[in-house]
Symmetry: C2
């Protein structure tokens, strides 16, 4: 059993069992992968893949378990390399972050600016994408951190730490009937077509449910993944916008009237997640700390050794998170 064989195995398992594609990703040739997988299976004495003729159709039950342990093994290998580089140079390395539009656009710029000042030699990668996209990248270890809001279910292999909370605000053009209502009720809101986030309609704290609980069925004019898109369509008069408070800029959005909505909708929590069992470099701790001052190294370590996300949540149950 060689490390490389396990790397091959992991790549194939993560590439829909396509050896050719896996080989390309591994910067090697397809016969090499083919042969090593066969050797590995021979050595272990079990079939890892179900072959239909020459095609790899699926993974056997034994294979599932082998792949699981192989992934954990490879993570430890990563940890060894990571800890070595940590001791070689604490301020060099790479940091890949996956996040959603709102964070990337409104929150992270300030954080990243500070981070880059402190660690100019750390290579920084920012990937923006939908939640499902982020979950997949986290799963494949393509990103060190995922930063997002809402549903934790997709990130089963990650430790998710709450960073801060935020409220929604209602935005309308200055000439809109709601523009002068200070504390609109759900009924008033439901009378107008809405423009809001796609993700606001999934998960436990969805708008849908809030309205439904009040016996209302709002009309949705448009959903977007992107606050700027929502603002644009609100400006066009398409409907009443519901956006994150932190996505509103006093200057740039001065033409829109924004109305408090904290009394209508539940609060949202933005979290940062990293692979359970992954090594955190010093600059990674620092990045987390920049994102959320209450997440000190000690707190992060405490959460990292938790066996499940429920434990982590319990850890933060009584903590007052910053609101932005």
């Amino acid at each position: 059993m060689k490390l490389q064989q396990l790397r091959f195995l992991a790549a194939v398992a993560q590439t829909d069992l396509n050896l050719t594609a896996a080989a390309a990703k591994l910067h090697t040739t397809q016969p090499a992968v083919s042969k090593q997988l066969k050797l590995l299976e021979e050595e272990l004495g079990v079939s890892i893949f179900v072959r239909n003729g020459r095609a790899f159709t699926k993974i056997t039950p034994a294979g599932e378990r082998v792949v699981m342990y192989a992934l954990r093994l490879l993570r430890e290998a990563q940890n060894i390399k990571g800890v070595s580089q940590e001791f070689k140079d604490e301020e060099q390395g790479a940091l890949s972050i996956g996040t959603t539009h709102t964070q990337a656009r409104y929150v992270l710029p300030a954080v990243i600016r500070q981070f880059r000042e402190k660690y100019p030699d750390v290579e920084f990668h920012l990937h923006q994408g939908a939640l499902e996209h982020l979950a997949e990248m986290a799963q494949l270890d393509r990103i060190d951190f995922a930063i997002a809001t809402g549903s934790q279910d997709l990130f089963r292999k990650c430790v998710l730490l709450p960073c801060y909370q935020w409220h929604r605000r209602i935005i309308v053009p200055a000439d809109h009937p709601l523009a002068h209502v200070k504390q609109p009720q759900l009924e008033e809101l439901a009378a107008h077509p809405l423009v809001t986030y796609v993700f606001s309609f999934t998960g436990p704290s969805s708008l849908q449910e809030t309205f439904a609980a009040a016996g209302l069925r709002p009309k949705v004019a448009l959903t977007a993944r992107d606050s700027d898109v929502i603002k644009t369509y609100v400006r066009l008069g398409l409907g009443v916008g519901i956006v994150a408070e932190l996505a509103l800029d006093p200057k740039d959005d001065a033409d829109l009237v924004s109305i408090e909505a904290a009394h209508l909708f539940p609060v949202h929590t933005t979290w940062i997640g990293f692979a359970r069992g992954g090594l955190l470099r010093r600059y990674m701790y620092d990045f987390i700390h920049l994102m959320a001052p209450h997440l000190t190294r000690r707190v992060v370590d405490l959460a990292a050794v938790c066996g499940s996300q429920e434990e982590v949540n319990a850890l933060f149950a009584n903590i007052q998170l910053p609101v932005r």
Copy 2:
């Protein structure tokens, strides 16, 4: 970075940094180890060992961490092999158990007889030793299970599951003054020299403390690791014996008078421990179940995913254990 290099590293770290000895244990030559370690250090870019001239004197801080991850990696490698064999043949493999005298002599024979009937093809190894000895073997992954009573502190890397509880009994020759006392008090006991286990004098539930709490300082004639030794010296009239109830055989020990002592001393719990993160084969689950019927596969799995021994203990806090 090669698997072999990590195996070499682990062996050296576990052999007092003696390359020659490590090489012997690995069935290879010393220059091979020497070279691979050097290559590993070069690749990682950190010194793992502190060299004094040519002698390896200690492990660097970076080395400590690397070794830690390497051990975890090697465990996953073991798991891969284990799970493969599990699928090849559920009833073949090996089981190494380390335990103390009392368990080996009075409890395990029945368990092992049943186990061997069920799994005749599993190679069975039983190692008897002192608690510290067992802890070391567990640390080095030389045994799959450790079975012992009392102090859990030495087994930090293990998950310890409570199996059953037992009380001490007092044993005296038939002509001893205490022979006719039904419920002796600590004062009466302290009036005679005692013969008991060495380990009874360490840990939180020690005899020492029980007597001290009553303001007494008993005279100890002899301590042994072995119930049979204690009985022998009690027969010789050396003193009053305090032994585990389960070490008394109605037939063989008919010449001794045994007296209830549950009212005097706290109860003892015998546990079975295995490496956290280690793979449990089917026959291993079955062995545990034979040891303690309440430890079903489900319960064991539940405990195995706990992050700390405290969690495990909490899991069993409300369980009524069998007493033997």
